[in-house]
């Protein structure tokens, strides 16, 4: 077994410097690497490019990095729910590249799996395709999209072990597995670090080979963005 465990977020983010490109898991505020984000705020790392489906809300998630003007560019599929984001984007302070959600997921997976590029139909005939190569296969048009290149990938899992094996919970899984092994260094934070050997090898979502560093996170807030309920009848 190859041990990937580090004691805390500070050690896990070692080597992270200004200007780097990062992947961050999560959908909305669900399954985001809260500890890594908090540590980035503490480090005050600047001019980072974030590949992340969303950009958090004003005072949580990636919004915390936006507040401190740490983000130079966002690559996302949807960036609503964030006033400060809007302000920085309209002022030109923040660069934003919007791409289809499935394209985002698959450009991560391509990086993980060693594919240089993929052909996807998403965005054909729209401004997303502008300047990109297009091609017909069996009468349907596709866009060539390249694999992402990132320095760090920050993911959040439910359970993990020192070997780097990960299990995600419910829809907090989302982009997290696709970003594992898709950057030079993948840092996984888990709610619970369990002893090696206690996870069923048959039920591991991400084998440890895709993870370089793992630590047990602290104080997860797991904020709910849109609390919707039904009434008991």
């Amino acid at each position: 077994m190859i041990n990937k465990q580090v004691p805390n977020a500070k050690k896990a983010l070692k080597g992270l410097t200004d200007g780097m490109t990062l992947m961050l898991g999560g959908f909305g505020l669900c399954g985001i690497p809260e500890n890594a984000i908090a540590e980035m705020v503490a480090m005050d790392v600047k001019k980072i490019t974030c590949i992340s489906n969303n950009a958090g809300v004003d005072n949580f998630g990636l919004g915390l990095l936006l507040q401190k003007h740490q983000i130079r560019k966002m690559v996302s599929s949807y960036v609503g729910e964030n006033d400060e984001f809007e302000r920085q984007m309209l002022s030109g302070e923040l660069e934003v590249e919007l791409i289809p959600q499935g394209t985002l997921a698959e450009r991560c997976r391509a990086a993980q799996a060693g594919f240089p590029a993929i052909y996807t139909p998403a965005g054909y005939g729209t401004e997303v395709a502008e300047g990109k190569e297009t091609r017909e296969f069996d009468g349907k048009m596709y866009i060539l999209e390249t694999a992402f290149k990132a320095d760090f990938s920050f993911v959040k899992a439910w359970k993990g072990d020192a070997a780097g094996n990960l299990i995600f919970k419910a829809t907090a899984r989302n982009f997290n597995p696709n970003m594992c092994g898709a950057a030079t260094i993948t840092v996984a934070e888990v709610e619970e670090l369990v002893p090696v050997g206690s996870l069923d090898p048959n039920q591991i979502h991400i084998p440890g080979i895709f993870v370089q560093r793992i630590f047990e996170g602290k104080g997860y807030e797991k904020r709910i963005e849109k609390r919707t309920v039904r009434q008991k009848i």
């Binding site: 399954g31 439910w158 995600f168 709910i224 309920v229």
Partner: protein, 217 residues
């Protein structure tokens, strides 16, 4: 003339036995409430869940269990969770049989615009471009005209496109229309709405072929 719930009810009739369905935000979300209880249907949400159920009871919300609209949800028996790449494999691979989504504009050749208004804050396309580029069967749920009273069923979309030649059917507060090579084919009128009213509210080419029945909701 239908309200939003009426549109949702009419679209619910398009959901057939054995369909996996992806519902967009807004009117489409309401459709789930009106699907016939006698058929087998599963709802997919592109953030990574199949077999979505209703909203949770108060106190039973789980921050780790949401839909693509970021709302807390529940799951039904037979549900499954998966990553985003697998989710879009379901969509791109045509395993999801029906996609229902809203639109700002639809053109009579099936183009759709629903993600960007120049001059306004652009929030992004989310999964909509993947959905419209992939689904075999796309139904648009929307009001027939915008707040200024202008037609949203056009000869050609004026807004930036989400997808080209992909919409199969449009259900509005006034009508059910099919996108054909020749234009919008009027299939049904909303209760009490005349063909003339629909014609006046439709900028794109409208095909009226014989008697047009009133919707049965």
């Amino acid at each position: 003339m239908l309200d939003k719930i009426g549109i949702a009810k009419r679209i619910a009739k398009e959901v057939k036995n054995g369909y996996y369905v992806n519902l967009g935000i807004g009117i489409p979300t309401l459709v789930a409430n009106y699907v016939c209880k006698d058929i087998e249907v599963e709802f997919q949400s592109e953030n990574g869940v199949l077999g979505m159920g209703p909203f949770p009871f108060e106190g039973e919300e789980d921050a780790d269990l949401i839909n693509a609209g970021k709302q807390t949800i529940t799951t039904l028996e037979g549900a499954s969770f998966f990553d985003s790449a697998t989710s879009f494999s379901m969509i791109r691979g045509k395993h999801v049989q029906l996609t229902i989504l809203g639109a700002m504009e639809v053109s009579h050749n099936g183009d759709i615009a629903n993600w960007k208004i120049p001059g306004y804050m652009v929030k992004g396309m989310g999964g909509a471009m993947d959905l419209v580029a992939s689904a075999e069967n796309i139904i648009v749920a929307m009001m027939h005209t915008n707040k200024k009273g202008e037609s949203k069923l056009l000869k050609s979309c004026s807004l930036p496109l989400t997808g080209v030649g992909c919409v199969k059917r449009v259900v509005t507060n006034l009508a059910v229309l099919e996108v054909s090579i020749d234009g919008f084919k009027l299939l049904e009128r909303a209760p009490g709405v005349t063909v003339e009213t629909i014609q006046n509210a439709t900028e794109g080419h409208l095909i009226v072929d014989g008697e047009v029945p009133e919707m049965d909701i």
